[in-house]
C-alpha cells in the first residue's frame, strides 16, 4: 500500500463520521506524510508507523464521544415488584440504596470519570423481571478482563419502594450503602467493599464482607454481620437480636439489644448495652473484651479468661473461682469467655447514684470555697511556713475535686 492508497482507504473508513472530524484527521495524516518524507522516511515506513486503519477505527469512538461521565437512568414501573436482586458481578461499582418516593423502582448508573480517562463504558445495566422479582445486573459487553477493575467504576443508585419483602445485593469491590430503607429482609454479600446501613428498618438483616468494614447506624432489625478482616460498628440501634462474627476486625456495639452473640478471633470487643439485654454471649481468642451495662442489669452465668485478666466492677453479687466469675442471681444470661484476652466488665452508675455523688462533690466544693475565703484572714494569724503548707493542701483538694467531677 502506498501513500495515496492509504489516504483513500482512510477517507473511506471515515465516511460515516462528521465532516469536521474527517477533515481534521485527513489533514493531520497528510501533514504527517509531508514531514515524514522530509525527514527521510519512505512512504512505507510512514504507513507502518501510523498503524493500520482498522486499528485506528477501533479507537475512533474515543475521538467522537468525549463525554467523561455517562449516565444510564431508568425506572421500573410496577406495583408487582416484591423482591429486588442486585448483582454488580465483578465490577468495582458502589451501590447506593434508598427509599423510592413512589411505588416504583428507580435506578441510575453513574459511571466514574475514570482513571486516566480510560473509558469503562462496556459496563451496562441490565434488568429483567421474573414473577415478583426485579433483577438488576451490571454486565460487561466485552469479555476482556480488565486490569483496572481494581478501581471504582461508578455508582449504581437504586430507589426501592417501601416494605418489599427482599433486597438482595451481591457486590465485589464496591461499597454498599443503604440509607432510609424499609424492607422485610436484607441480604448483602461483598468481597472487598464496605457495607453501611443508616436508618434502615427491617425484620432480618444478613451482611457479609470479607475485607470490608460493616457500619450500622440508627437501624432496627435482627442483624447478622460477618466479616473476616473488617471492623464492625453498631451504633444507636434497636435490635432484638444481634449476631456478629469477625476474625481479625474489632467489634464495637453501642445499642439496645435483647439477645447478642459476638465471636471474634483477634479483634477487640467494646460493648455498651442498656437494660434490654437478656442474653449476652461473647467469645474471643486473643482480643480484649470491654462490656459496660446499664445500672439495673444483673447477670446469671460465667465470665472467664484462661490467660488474660478479668476485672468486674458491678453492683450485683458474684463468686470468683480462679479466673472465673460466676453470677447466679441475675436476670440477664451471660457467657463471656476469652483465651488470651483481658475482660473488663463495668456497670454505668445509676442516675440515683450519680445524683448522690454530685451532691457529695457540691458539698466538698462549698466547704473548700469557705476555707479559701478564710485564707485571707489566716495570713495574719499563722507564719509563712504553715501558710504554705495550707496552700499546698488546698491545691491538692482542688485537684481531687476536679478528678471527682
Amino acid at each position: 500500500m502506498n501513500r495515496q492508497e492509504y489516504m483513500e482507504a482512510l477517507e473511506k473508513a471515515l465516511q460515516p463520521y462528521d465532516d469536521q472530524l474527517r477533515k481534521d484527521i485527513m489533514d493531520d495524516f497528510e501533514d504527517h506524510f509531508v514531514y515524514g518524507l522530509k525527514s527521510g522516511h519512505t512512504e512505507e515506513q510512514i504507513i507502518d508507523s501510523l498503524g493500520s486503519i482498522e486499528e485506528m477505527l477501533k479507537n475512533i469512538d474515543d475521538a467522537v464521544d468525549s463525554k467523561p461521565v455517562e449516565k444510564q437512568q431508568s425506572l421500573v414501573k410496577s406495583t408487582m415488584i416484591n423482591k429486588v436482586i442486585i448483582d454488580t458481578k465483578s465490577a468495582g461499582v458502589d451501590v447506593l440504596i434508598n427509599q423510592s418516593f413512589d411505588k416504583d423502582v428507580h435506578y441510575e448508573f453513574n459511571e466514574a470519570s475514570s482513571y486516566f480517562n480510560i473509558k469503562q463504558s462496556e459496563l451496562k445495566v441490565k434488568r429483567y423481571v421474573e414473577d415478583d422479582t426485579l433483577f438488576i445486573t451490571l454486565d460487561k459487553d466485552g469479555s476482556d478482563p480488565k486490569l483496572f477493575s481494581l478501581f471504582q467504576d461508578g455508582t449504581l443508585s437504586v430507589a426501592i419502594p417501601k416494605e418489599i419483602s427482599l433486597l438482595n445485593i451481591n457486590g465485589k469491590h464496591g461499597d454498599i450503602d443503604l440509607i432510609d430503607v424499609i424492607v422485610d429482609n436484607v441480604k448483602i454479600a461483598t468481597i472487598s467493599g464496605d457495607i453501611s446501613l443508616d436508618k434502615v428498618k427491617c425484620k432480618k438483616i444478613q451482611l457479609h464482607t470479607t475485607n470490608g468494614d460493616i457500619d450500622i447506624n440508627d437501624s432496627i432489625g435482627e442483624i447478622t454481620a460477618n466479616t473476616v478482616n473488617g471492623d464492625i460498628d453498631v451504633d444507636e440501634c434497636d435490635n432484638r437480636c444481634l449476631i456478629v462474627n469477625s476474625t481479625n476486625g474489632d467489634v464495637k456495639v453501642d445499642a439496645q439489644v435483647e439477645e447478642m452473640a459476638i465471636k471474634v478471633v483477634n479483634g477487640d470487643i467494646d460493648v455498651c448495652l442498656d437494660d434490654k439485654i437478656s442474653k449476652l454471649y461473647i467469645e474471643t481468642t486473643s482480643g480484649d473484651v470491654d462490656v459496660s451495662v446499664a445500672a439495673n442489669v444483673d447477670f446469671s452465668g460465667n465470665i472467664e479468661s484462661l490467660r488474660g485478666d478479668v476485672s468486674v466492677d458491678v453492683d450485683f453479687s458474684y463468686m470468683v473461682k480462679r479466673n472465673r466469675y460466676v453470677f447466679t442471681e441475675g436476670k440477664t444470661l451471660v457467657d463471656i469467655k476469652s483465651l488470651n484476652g483481658d475482660i473488663n466488665i463495668e456497670q454505668s452508675i445509676s442516675t440515683h447514684k450519680k445524683n448522690k455523688a454530685n451532691e457529695g462533690i457540691k458539698k466538698d466544693i462549698h466547704e473548700a470555697l469557705n476555707v479559701l475565703k478564710d485564707i485571707g484572714n489566716l495570713e495574719n494569724l499563722i507564719d509563712d511556713e504553715e501558710l504554705k503548707k495550707f496552700k499546698d493542701l488546698m491545691a491538692q483538694v482542688k485537684i481531687d475535686i476536679k478528678r471527682k467531677k
Binding site: 514531514y35 485506528m56 479507537n59 469503562q120
Partner: protein, 100 residues
C-alpha cells in the same frame, strides 16, 4: 499491554509533551514513538479528542518549506488536567512498585 490502559498513558504522554512546549503533530508523534511502540495514527485521535474537550488548542504557522504547520498547545484547562493526571500517575506507579 491492556489497550485501555495504554491509551490512558498515551494521553498523559501527549499532554506532558505539550506541557514542555507547543509542537506540531509530526514533531510530537516522533518524540513519543521514539520511546514507545505506538501506532502514531492513534496519537492524532488522542489529540483530536483533547481538542474536543478543550484541553488543547491549535494554531497555524506558515512554513517556508511545506504546508502551514498546525501547532498544538495546552489550554489552561489542559495544564491543570496534565498536572492532575501526572500526580495521579506518579502516585499509581509508586504503589504498583511496592506491590510488584
Amino acid at each position: 499491554m491492556n489497550a485501555q490502559f495504554k491509551k490512558g498513558v498515551l494521553e498523559l504522554c501527549v499532554l506532558s509533551q505539550l506541557a514542555l512546549k507547543d509542537q506540531y503533530g509530526y514533531e510530537l508523534t516522533e518524540a513519543i514513538s521514539q520511546q514507545l511502540t505506538v501506532a502514531t495514527g492513534t496519537l492524532y485521535l488522542i489529540l483530536r479528542r483533547l481538542k474536543e474537550d478543550s484541553y488543547v488548542d491549535t494554531y497555524l504557522i506558515e512554513s517556508s518549506n511545506g504546508p502551514a504547520r498546525k501547532y498544538y498547545k495546552l489550554t489552561d484547562k489542559g495544564k491543570t488536567y496534565q498536572t492532575d493526571l501526572k500526580a495521579e500517575w506518579l502516585d499509581f506507579i509508586e504503589k504498583v512498585a511496592i506491590l510488584i
